[in-house]
């Protein structure tokens, strides 16, 4: 029976990135994916004729350009389009926009507060400094602080040197950034509620924390350290939806000789005397491989795919306690025309950016209170985009695809599984909010896909539907991600590796976990990596 050099469980973007690098290094690689399509949470499906959705992930910034280049993704159709800022609608009939033009941005803020308008430069400087500190760490394996191996010591030294290179003030700011709430952090710069709410959204997206919870300042940083073609902090749309990322990766993988089997759900990993030997599919079919890489999150991997008896106790307990909480949902809407927002001038560039309706920190925190109580937010926080304003490939001319990321949605409703009625109620909370700012909105809806944590977990396989495969809190970052002692993509089972967002540097369509895991695997195989670029210089 054939033994593959490597079997990747899960065809999400990180699994595909990992597979691409391994295949290009000369391995014979198989990707097994339970769905009939690849992409995981970076997928675009046509659920109603003529409309392509970004079913989960919907905007692109974190995906590392080094990976796009290494894997020749432009040749396989990937194109990322930068978009104009966006806006928060205010309840008094106004909005606060973010413009790309520095002076327009200042004038817009000055409509609300002249002081905050002029405070923005200091804020941007501080955030940029922190991003520059973190960005080079994304494409490096985190050191094991308990190890005395020269490589770990070297990496620790690198971290230490980078840290020591900061001024005392920056060092303090770094530590504060990694531990503070986004609300407290923004208070240091701004006085106006809506301006704080405008920035705070990046601190809560994808996380089961509120803007007043410690640790959310880092989440903001995580959303700022991406780039579109060197423009750090910028976000863009993948042309053709986020599925274009997976499509390009799959094409690149196949072009280099890789094999993908869709509709192939893994039941468990074959382990023989502490070593991974392959996988067993749900139908019972055994596939043998010299090594196995799991793109699934750490909980799914070790609590569902590997037998308990193969794993050390403390490791198991830590996996069990790994924080990966469902906090968000998604409503994808096909529209027969562009919605109108009376507050927004018709020629505003905001239509092409991301729109929000949560204009105060208090409302944002109250939305989180509902989550804590086990309910979806009555007054949810939306991150809403209409990619078809810039991307002609996703809907017929004049028609539009609208993506609404929704927070908060609990993994269970009042302790019980989500029901169809719950799902409808959740969707209604979203539609009602949009309709309150956009009369006639309901009449434009052609089709709608509603995804609560239940649907996201069932379809994508993310535990509780957590988009980051685990909270981005400091206790679960760097050499603590996902589990102390197992932050270098290896696991207690020899030959079983992790490459998903549960590993360093975490979630978002970044590709770095998949790439870094490939680097470690190839190191174990004593193979060189000439086809893998180091991180771009931050100068």
């Amino acid at each position: 029976m054939k033994a593959w050099d490597a079997i990747i469980i899960g065809g999400g973007h990180n699994g595909l990135v990992n597979a691409c690098y391994l295949q290009r290094a000369g391995l014979d690689v198989l990707v097994v994916e339970k769905n009939d399509w690849v992409g995981g949470a970076a997928t675009s499906r046509e659920l109603t004729p003529g409309f392509l959705y970004s079913n989960c992930s919907y905007v692109c910034s974190l995906f590392r350009p080094e990976i796009m280049r290494d894997l020749e993704l432009p040749r396989f159709g990937l194109q990322v389009i930068s978009y104009e800022g966006g806006a928060v609608f205010t309840r008094d009939g106004d909005y606060l926009a973010n413009y790309r033009d520095h002076d327009a941005h200042r004038r817009e803020f000055a409509r609300f507060s002249r002081r905050d308008a002029e405070a923005y430069d200091r804020y941007a400087r501080d955030v940029t400094r922190q991003c520059r500190f973190i960005q080079p760490l994304l494409m490096r394996t985190a050191p094991d602080p308990a190890s005395l191996r020269p490589r770990d010591l070297g990496e620790l030294l690198y971290l230490g040197k980078k840290f020591a290179g900061l001024s005392a003030q920056e060092m303090a700011l770094t530590l504060r950034f990694w531990t503070m709430s986004i609300s407290d952090f923004l208070d240091e710069y701004f006085e106006t509620d809506v301006i704080k709410a405008n920035f705070a959204l990046s601190g809560i997206i994808g996380t089961a924390l509120g803007p007043m919870s410690p640790g959310t300042a880092y989440v903001l940083l995580h959303h700022y350290m991406g780039e579109v073609d060197g423009s750090v902090g910028a976000w863009g749309y993948a042309r053709g939806g986020m599925g274009a990322v997976a499509k390009a990766l799959a094409a690149s993988f196949k072009a280099s000789g890789g094999t993908i089997r869709t509709g192939a759900e893994v039941d468990h990993v074959l382990v023989d005397r502490g070593r991974a030997k392959g996988v067993v599919l749900a139908g019972g079919e055994e596939i043998h491989g010299k090594l196995v890489v799991s793109n699934a999150d750490v909980k799914r991997t070790f609590l569902k795919l590997v037998e308990e008896k193969e794993l050390p106790d403390i490791f198991l307990r830590r996996v069990t306690n790994f924080k990966i909480r469902g906090s968000s949902g998604k409503v994808n809407i096909a529209l027969d025309s562009l919605p109108e927002f009376p507050a927004l001038p018709k020629d505003s560039p905001v239509y092409r950016g991301d729109m929000h309706f949560t204009d105060s920190m208090e409302r944002m925190e109250r939305a989180y209170d509902d989550w804590k109580a086990g309910r979806w937010s009555a007054d949810p926080f939306l991150d809403m985009v209409i990619p078809t304003t810039l991307d002609p490939t996703m809907a017929p001319p004049g028609k539009h695809f609208m993506s609404c990321f929704v927070q908060y949605a609990p993994p269970k409703v009042n302790g019980s599984e989500w029901t169809e009625a719950d799902r409808d109620g959740f969707a209604e909370s979203v539609i009602a909010q949009i309709a309150a700012y956009s009369p006639g909105f309901r009449d434009r809806i052609v089709h709608m896909e509603v995804r609560t944590p239940r649907e996201i977990e069932a379809e994508v396989g993310l535990t509780e539907g957590n988009i980051f495969q685990g909270e981005l809190t400091f206790d679960q970052l760097l050499f603590n991600r996902p589990i102390p002692g197992y932050a270098q993509y290896r696991s207690p089972v020899r030959g079983l590796y992790m490459c998903g967002s549960s590993t360093h540097p975490g979630g978002g369509v970044m590709g770095a976990p998949g790439r870094n895991a490939a680097a470690e695997i190839l190191r174990d195989l004593a193979k060189s990596t000439p086809h893998m670029s180091p991180a771009h210089d931050v100068i």
Binding site: A97, H102, D103, R111, F112, S113, D121, G165, E191
Partner: protein, 411 residues
Amino acid sequence: MNQQATTASSTARIAGQGHFRTLRLGTPFQPRIDALARTQDWYNWAGYRAPHSLWDEELEYFAIRSQAALFDISPMTKYRIEGPDAEAMLNRVTLRDVGKLKPGRVHYTAWCDDEGFVLDDGTLFRLSPTRFRLCSQERHLPWLLDSASGFDVTVEEETEAVAGLALQGPTSFAVLRDAGFAGLEALKIFDIADFPHDGGTVTISRTGFTGDLGYELFVPSDKALSLWDRLMCAGELRGIRAIGYTALNRARLEAGLIVANADFTTAEHAIRADRLRMPDEIGLGFMVDPEKGHFNGRRAILEARAKRRLRHVLVGLEIDGNIPAEHAIVYHRKTREVGLVSAAMWSPMAKRNIAIASLARPYGDTVVEDLWVEIYAMRELQYQKLMKRAKIVARPFIKLDRRTANPPADF
């Protein structure tokens, strides 16, 4: 502290939404400038559409040095600081002793963050015992408001409300006198006085950015066009010409003056920690007054001086040859990289090749010999690489007696 309400009502806010349609604003003088803009060569000055040149940047420079050049300085950031504690508050913010600045006088000053790094430089006008105007390149409202805490003072941004013109050059005095500003001859350099204009008041100071005889005029925005017309009309026979920034930038370099975010990076914009500069590192050490009380950055600056932790120095260079050394690297003994030229030109007035450069100490400080600059001169798609000797010289590069002559001459 009683401060300007910095938040707006929703009606006023909503009325202001449409600004996104005009990314570069016109100044109050824009109708006149547009009419003269033959080159249509614009740049973005703090969100305003400002001319690089209007008809010919070379000739515009000579207008400054031979006749009278009119330059619109309205986009400059302006703050009005007023109240019984205004002097005390500004003493806390800025480096120089504001107590020594008498009403009716202007001084060039700078201000720092708590770490002693320069936030900006600018001019401080003392319009009355309790009323000041601070003019600067960057915006500083949060700093000023924070520093005003505990003082009885009002801080208000007045960039849009106040229009400004610089009239510079040997005939500038004569132009203003002919325009009817009686008593102007009494103004000595750095003096300010108010004059009647169009039913209101124009504030004229004998200041400028050219090292030449010159004045700066400030009026409420609604009196801007009548002021422009009054000057142009009076100056017709004395060669008055409107100019753009390129010409002014040449004049300021000859005068040895530095520009924020061109010759040094301001602290609130420096992403890289090693780009921050203390006053002593950009030639502004003379402003620091340790004898006055607390001011922002005082402790850090004095400590850096005491512990000899000043790492850079800004110098004037005279470079062999006539090829401008803009953004050239400075070497010691032609091999060791020791600094960078931030501004350079052939000076028509000095007939020398001049530059402003930042060097890493001890170069430029105790080691001043054997300095060189490597000039990459692009000539028809080829770099002509030149290694030219550079000599540290005092600034200003030119000194014009007419700048300070009393009474000022007609030309």
